[in-house]
Symmetry: D2
Subunit: 283 residues, 4 copies
């Protein structure tokens, strides 16, 4: 079922819901899902609607024009998207296959509602798996002393492919600041720890050293500061003294791929709103 | 913060949200929380609002009169309650103390928003604990051959105490059908299994016999059919071959009290809607 | 690291551990993992050791001969296997790809310690995915009225491939009793419910109808009675009124594949012992 | 059933289990539970046995003498305790009642196998609750500028009461280093975050600020460095943007009390072994 997804953030006040729902009712909009949230601390209001596209007399552009006065009145930050305009997700990976294989399978079986124009990797290991899915594979090695050229190439591909979102499926390289900025809130990373614990390198080693009883993974938007961007989704799994670091790596993989796929799904469905370095997820 | 809780169920259609939110906006109602759900299978629509009481020009009665035309127009089943009119919850227990102690502590520390006019038990074991909390304790023995008299007494007490809800905190006796009917969707039970598995007696023994790897507990509204009423909340805990039935009983207690207290909390805050023997929980 | 896995079940008594560990110590056996369990209800004792193969002066046959007197003395049911003699797991699937893809990826990335001589399916849908992994794919249609022929063919393939274990990765057909018996405790199924709830067909529909708050999956050995065999592993995921049956199916897939892969892993590593239709899992 | 609990840590090697189990078998010791662990990283071996006391010809002292040669031979760090010599646990609390009430109820209902000679608090709020349980309550105010006197008084009470273990049930004060040292691995704290995230003050505020999707609690042995001691047990609960800091505090309470009671139970049953600032928990 084709829907329009209307996502709104604005200073809280009386009458916002009434105005928006009146607008939708006036045009006979059939709301299939609605979520609201008033953040009492910041005084902001957040809202997400899914509306059957065939119930409205507009296309997206028409909606935007008709709704603009309301948006202005309440100083809204807002967007409306069409569920049938599939986002273009460029996946980036390194050598580890678990997250990439998981995303590709979900996409292939119709569970992930996006196009995957290509996969970019700094290694060649996963080419055959990607190409079996009919997806182009770009091998862009990232060599010490030649990182600038590598990321210039990455940027070129990402733009050429009209990426809407970049997914770092255990890419293991730090993207340059310009790219993060250009794709603000559109670069999704999976970090293999329960942040803010164990940011940076070798989180499972850190976890083993500290003797934690649960390990986790964190899906977050990438910002300039490493592993410090807004968290979209997290989960954990129990470990014990019986689990070596290798066991943790293995157990963690399952958490990583679950968390990344959930986070990406929320993003693709416009369920994630970012406010003051935190997310609201309307799921 | 004092709120009014407006809970609505009606056949789905265009314009319901607009009508309700317009109504609220017209009277300057400050919505602190809003939840909607369209059930595509049944074609019903469900809605819950919390509105700051001091933002509205009504008391409950005034609200009811003003809102009645909208309710009629959309054939709504609805209710509105005042967060400051605390529900009166009569607790019933047998000999096991864990659920009762948990509820009493939550109430005593201000976490459970209700009054507890009394506790009724078929045993005298828990009297001192209850009375320490300043709550009257009624000992109503349920003896074979004299069950009718016992439950007549229970009914008398429940009515005399103006109970809004009856909580079976491991009461271990089956309430008579008339009482269940009189308090339809207002008798809350905790069953010590993950229903529909292991209904009836000795669920941990059943679980042990079947060799399940997780055991659970279920909070549900009581209906005439044993352990078959609408489920409000459930949870589970992992067990293994190392856990004897006694271990399961012990581990299960923690799940039981968590699940019961969550379920009761949802009920007290008018977060639970019942539809075709299932619940929606707006939490 | 190559290990021998010694698994023992016998009536409990004094001196068993001493006898076994003396035996191992006499031959300088380096124990890397040891698990014991006394079942107080049945009076049985269970034990599993992993011993570095290079620390022992035996091959498997030599071990068996040397250990036989002890096994006789304590009326042991026992087995010893070599971690380097990889089990041959024949996978069977229908049209749903999630469990099969998950197992294949784990195998391909070295996480599942077995050989996969072939995949058998009653449909042709998953052939290309399987063959990309370099694994033969047998399409054995199961048509009404011709089931006997189909399963004769399945049996033939399974024997020809010297299968040690058969994994029903959402195969959706009931295996004939003879095959189950021949492969007793060696046919592993994933059922898409938290058994014993919702055995049989369309468990997610049953779960939705009953309004449970968690759905699950169960990995079990197949016995003649449908969905009633010894449970190896289970897990659950939370659902709510917002989740349609389609959502449950999607959420359930993740639980199914996690539970099946964990169950299979336990089986391959000789961690599962069956006793009176229940399992002990030494993990 | 009265048991002896034999806990051993020593450098790993061949023949340890054989020697120990031979020793037990020689004296007809009936092992009811046995756990072993070889830590491949450190090269240490850990072992815990429960043995029916009535199956052995010793009392504790006799056991110690008979076992000493084996302990010397393998350079064991070891202890043996009697399940009927209940540990004396001094509980310390501040104003928050949830952890204390939970422990007291578990103790009162026979679930916690210890004596509670007294409760010490820097406030008087919880006196009545404690005294209802028949337990003495010491009010030792901790005033700025007079901390030394306060903790001298605490130390005096703890010694006078022959405490075996001190449980900080949300005590909210930092114990002096001498006391921590005197009771090394015998002071158990519950910290209201998933350590190492959010050590120190106001962890729920920190968690809210960072926007994590799960909050947790950590039970650990107290060492000189704040919130950095060996972790005994941890758990988490899911939160979302809908949860205010107050909601997190409420949800966190349930995790805190579960985690603390599990950790304390493991300690009381001699299930916890500390090695290089981490724990092994044989549960």
């Amino acid at each position: 079922m084709r829907t329009f997804r209307l996502v709104i953030a604005c200073p809280d006040g009386v009458g916002i819901v009434a105005k928006v729902s009146n607008f939708l009712a006036t045009y006979n909009g059939w709301i299939t899902e609605a979520n609201h949230h008033s953040d009492h601390q910041s005084g902001w209001f957040f809202m997400r609607h899914e509306i059957r596209a065939d119930s409205l007399p507009f296309d997206l552009e028409g909606f935007r024009q008709a709704f603009a006065p309301i948006a202005r009145e309440f100083s809204m930050e807002w967007r409306i998207t069409d569920s049938e305009q599939r986002k273009r997700a460029v996946l980036m990976a390194s050598r580890e296959s678990h997250c990439l294989a998981d995303l590709l399978h979900r996409w292939h079986s119709g569970e992930l509602d996006c196009d995957i124009p290509c996969v970019i990797s700094n290694h060649n290991d996963l080419r055959s798996m990607v190409e079996w899915h009919g997806i182009p594979y770009f091998h862009v090695p990232v060599e010490p002393g030649r990182k600038d050229q590598a990321f210039a190439e990455v940027s070129r591909i990402v733009r050429e492919q009209h990426a809407d979102v970049i997914v770092l499926a255990r890419y293991m390289q730090i993207l340059p600041a310009e790219l993060c900025e250009e794709f603000a809130q559109r670069v999704i990373n999976i970090h293999h720890s329960f942040l803010p614990s164990f940011a940076g390198a070798k989180p499972y080693h850190q976890a083993s050293l500290r003797g934690v009883k649960l390990i986790g993974a964190t899906c977050h938007y990438v910002t300039e500061e490493l592993d410090a961007g807004p968290i979209i989704e997290q989960d954990v799994v129990r470990v014990s003294h019986r689990d070596s670091i290798e066991d943790m790596v293995r157990l963690g993989k399952d958490v990583e791929k679950m968390v990344l796929s959930r986070g990406l799904r929320y993003h693709l469905q416009e369920r994630v709103l970012v406010h003051s370095n935190k997310t609201l997820v309307f799921n």
